[in-house]
Symmetry: C2
Subunit: 205 residues, 2 copies
DNA sequence: GTCTATATAATGATAGAC
DNA sequence: GTCTATCATTATATAGAC
């Protein structure tokens, strides 16, 4: 209760948006923050203004040194795995998932941020000899991140039945067990036997 | 105009839900179908009932012989690519994308259906010698499908700005150009140099 | 800054005439 | 089957008192 009312509204909004989606009303948010509904619009102008402030806040937290450390995930875990392990970032993960499902400016920022991060640690892996060099490191980083993020997101969406709150840590554990082995199999042995197929594709496009 | 009013409402709903999302109102659907708003609920009981009928209709169309042929995509194109090429299935693709973004019963059915399909054509690829055999073919099919579908979905979501209608064919073309090459690179040469990492993972879990 | 009260608009759903 | 009219609810946003 040592935060200003505006900050409490913002944090309550992040939590409720994450839990129930962006269709939650300002009344519910106000109630959760312990203020009146009118005060929400007094501070943020409109629901959309509140949403924007929430987006900015989430992005700011992601960019913090502390959270930056945990956005470098292992390849088999997916991007959101490490964060979901940390209790206090649970609401943040939920909000990010909702944003990525709904699209919008924050979603794009998040993806670009993660792709950029991935490029760094993949490059480090190549330098260490653990990861094979690529024809186009930037494109590969983007591809891997779109796959990891996309499949994680889809898995969450399928699990998210009705209004029930999703346990992200549990979901990520299950996801890792289900997709980890085939991912590593693909990463180590590949999939296709014909090594010329990439050249064929490139000639056609 | 040779369809019954109920069928026109259903088809209009599929189109509008796909275009604008499930928050579209019954009035807009009724207007698009050229009927009154009251008639919608008269025929379908509620908006939820209409949604269920739409889900069933989409699933029925997907299961049709004709569409079945196009749900077997090339590995580099993603699942929805082939369908989006066919003019009349555009609204169907849009509706499927919305469903997969929102979750729910249809989303699960679609994924299971596609995973099952993928298992078949991957098995054929293995038999033909084009695809390497897997430790666990079912898990691999699921993994590849979750990746393909998930990244495609994420790409669509990021592109889908505001209320503007998304051109799925164009989006898929761009997606293929962006993610095709790194996908094929990964599929042919793999990613990791250490071939024992899968065993290590399996021992730890 | 914060509240209560209210304006305004849109929603899903229903009743009853035809 | 189909319409018009309406209800009940909910939503966002605003006005004005304190």
């Amino acid at each position: 209760m040592d935060l200003t009312a505006a900050a409490r509204i913002r944090d309550a909004a992040i939590e409720l948006f994450g839990e129930r989606g962006f269709q939650v009303g300002v009344r519910a948010i106000a109630a959760s923050a312990g203020v009146s509904a009118g005060l929400v619009n007094h501070h943020f102008g409109s629901k959309d203004g509140l949403r924007t402030v929430c987006d900015e806040r989430v992005l700011e937290l992601i960019r913090t040194e502390k959270t930056k450390a945990v956005t470098a995930p292992s390849l088999s875990n997916g991007v959101l795995a490490a964060m979901a392990d940390i209790e206090e970032y649970g609401p943040l993960v939920a909000y990010m998932v909702r944003s990525l499902q709904a699209g919008g400016p924050l979603a794009e920022s998040l993806v670009e941020h993660m792709v950029s991060d991935a490029e760094g640690w993949i490059e480090a892996g190549v330098a260490a000899g653990a990861i094979r060099p690529s024809r186009d490191p930037a494109a590969r980083a983007r591809y891997l991140m779109m796959n990891n993020l996309g499949s994680t997101l889809l898995y969450f969406t399928l699990r998210q039945q009705g209004g029930a709150k999703l346990d992200y840590r549990k979901a990520i554990r299950e996801l890792t067990e289900q997709l980890g082995p085939p991912a590593l199999e693909l990463y180590t042995q590949g999939l296709l036997t014909d090594p010329t197929i990439l050249d064929t594709f490139l000639k056609e496009h």
